[in-house]
């Protein structure tokens, strides 16, 4: 369980998070949603100890973030940040292998090698294992980073927009894998998701943030509603249902938004076509 108490954060003079209290249950796929600048990534980065704590307290499975060494925390949670594009020329298997570093500090044992193989396999990377990271696509590199995070073998996985760089097929596969990690292996995942429908389809628990505050929290059915989402994104949003889950419709009520561009005349359209 992750407990957050009185978490306030500012960058320079700009307040980013306002006195956040939050309890994240274990064994769930938790999605953080909200508009740009809501503070989702900052919250995740604070829990992941990638940013220094300014005020408040964060506890992960009983470990106080402020007083627990970073080595110990690496056995409790694995982190994937937004920037996974690096200039380093590592092979895929070598990168995934570094996921085991917190366990062996340079002397891998059989169990470590086994975990790396499993991670490569789980993310469909076995055929790419000998390829250099700078020779594969951005999406594949993203998957390699995710496999490293998975190989770390921690109860918690913290992911900052893991769907960046991924097309629809890979996004879907990734969300299904995360759901499987939680469902079949009992891991806990906290992930920032931009596209609400991926959260709608796969998450067990949703946290909606806006302007550095938690606006709504709970099961997808209770958070992904028309009033909550419309207020969250400041735009009219229609929600339907599909397969017993909410489905956000992007194209509906489009005319209510208005257009900043003048409508082209029929003559212009004829010329364009």
């Amino acid at each position: 369980m992750i407990r957050i108490n009185g978490l306030t954060h500012r960058i320079g003079a700009t307040p980013i998070l306002h006195d956040i209290d939050l309890t994240l249950p274990r064994g769930k796929l938790i999605a953080l949603i909200g508009p740009n600048g809501a503070g989702k990534s900052t919250l995740l980065r604070l829990v992941a100890r990638l940013e220094p704590l300014q005020a408040g307290r964060i506890e992960i499975d009983g470990l106080d973030l402020a007083t627990t060494g970073t080595e110990r925390l690496a056995l409790a949670m694995a982190v994937m940040g937004q920037q996974t594009h690096v200039a380093s020329r590592l092979r895929v298997a070598e990168l995934v292998g570094f996921g085991r570093w917190p366990h062996h500090h340079g002397r891998p044992r059989a169990a470590d090698r086994e975990a790396v193989e499993q991670a490569l396999d789980a993310f469909g990377l076995t055929p790419l294992r000998h390829r250099f990271l700078d020779e594969i696509s951005g999406g594949q590199a993203q998957r390699a980073h995710l496999a490293m995070t998975f190989a770390q073998g921690t109860d918690w996985l913290l992911l900052d927009e893991p769907l960046n760089n991924l097309d629809m097929a890979h996004s879907r596969t990734l969300m299904a894998r995360l759901a499987d990690l939680v469902g079949a292996r009992g891991r806990s995942v906290l992930t920032v998701v931009h596209e609400v429908n991926y959260a709608a389809a796969w998450a067990d628990h949703i946290i909606a943030m806006k302007d550095g505050r938690i606006v709504a929290e709970g099961a997808p059915e209770t958070v992904l509603t028309e009033p909550v989402l419309s207020a969250l994104y400041d735009t009219p949003i229609e929600v339907s249902r599909h397969d017993d889950r909410p489905l956000v419709l992007h194209h509906h009520w489009h005319d209510q938004l208005g257009s900043p561009f003048p409508k082209p005349s029929d003559d212009t359209l004829r010329v364009l076509h």
């Binding site: 992941a48 060494g69 690496a74 590592l90 570094f98 917190p102």
Partner: protein, 316 residues
């Protein structure tokens, strides 16, 4: 696959033999004798060892600084480190001329560390995408510190003294008793190999490093110690040796990637081989006179570096 390291080892061994047999004095390695032993033990062997140690240590220091700044276009000689070491040595020479050699080396290393820290602080403020700003910042910093050294040396009438550090490095002055400090540079490079995984992880970004439980500051500090000690000892013992720390890590990374635990020994051997080949060339071209190895490297290194620059960039 196993043939490659064997061939490389053989080539290095041949270079070593050639180095032992090449010089102004005429000796007969096959026949031996007192004169031959004297030349070998007092001059040729120390010189060969000094070249090997310098080449290996500089190349490894290059790998380390490249992983610290996450940029391939820097070397220990283009980060202001050598000039800072010279400044430190000049300072201690002026303040305490009678200080024992180890105190002078400590002063040079500390100054080199301060210079490298300054370089790292500057680089961290540069936009990540602007790959070429990093080497430019290094060259500007080197130039500024170098000119301060020259100015102080001019004022103190020590210009000739300083010239041996900032000028083209060369090994013609190396005899037994005047190169042994380079073993410490070699040991520092060995330390880098010991911490190879940490440098490899750090070069993946602070986020990844912290996520894996690494103390980024600790690794940075260790890297700075390695780079500074190597630079300080090389600069004060044999002078500025350009390009080895820049091109060798690049070529090795091209071929075998950045898994530093595997590549650092190859980087070391490559640096030793390149420097020995250039030093040998400098001894042969106008035998029995010598061309400083720094000059040879200036030509060879800049050609290799231009090739590396114009070859299509695979990242970014």
């Amino acid at each position: 696959m196993n043939a490659r390291p064997l061939a490389a080892g053989l080539a290095l061994a041949l270079l070593v033999l050639a180095s032992l047999g090449t010089g102004a004095a005429r000796i007969d390695l096959a026949a031996g004798g007192g004169w031959t032993t004297l030349v070998l033990m007092e001059s040729r062997l120390p010189r060969t060892l000094a070249v090997l140690l310098t080449g290996a240590a500089l190349a490894v220091a290059g790998t380390v600084i490249q992983s610290l700044v996450r940029n391939r276009f820097v070397g220990p000689d283009t980060a202001g480190t050598g000039e800072s070491a010279a400044l430190g040595l000049l300072g201690i020479t002026l303040l305490a001329p009678a200080a024992p050699i180890w105190i002078k080396m400590v002063a040079a290393s500390l100054a080199a560390m301060a210079g490298t820290a300054l370089f790292l602080a500057i680089v961290r403020r540069l936009p990540v995408r602007e790959v070429m700003l990093v080497p430019i910042a290094g060259l500007v910093l080197s130039g500024i510190i170098g000119s301060v050294v020259t100015w102080i040396a001019w004022e103190a009438d020590l210009l000739q003294f300083v010239g041996t550090w900032l000028g083209s490095g060369e090994f013609s002055g190396v005899i037994a008793g005047r190169y042994e400090l380079l073993w410490i540079a070699g040991a520092a490079a060995g330390l880098a190999w010991f911490a190879a995984d940490r440098f490899a992880i750090l070069s993946l970004g602070d986020g990844v490093a912290i996520g894996l439980g690494l103390s980024t500051r600790g690794v940075m500090r260790l890297g700075m110690v390695v780079v500074s000690v190597v630079s300080a000892l090389v600069v004060t013992t044999v002078g500025m040796i350009p390009f080895v720390g820049l091109v060798v890590p690049n070529i090795v990374a091209r071929i075998m990637g950045d898994n530093l635990r595997a590549s650092i020994p190859v980087v070391a051997a490559g640096g030793a081989g390149l420097l020995l080949a250039c030093d040998l060339l400098g001894r042969i071209v106008r035998h029995p006179y010598e061309i400083p190895v720094g000059t040879i490297l200036g030509i060879a290194g800049s050609v290799i570096f231009l090739w590396l620059l114009y070859r299509p960039v695979s990242h970014g």
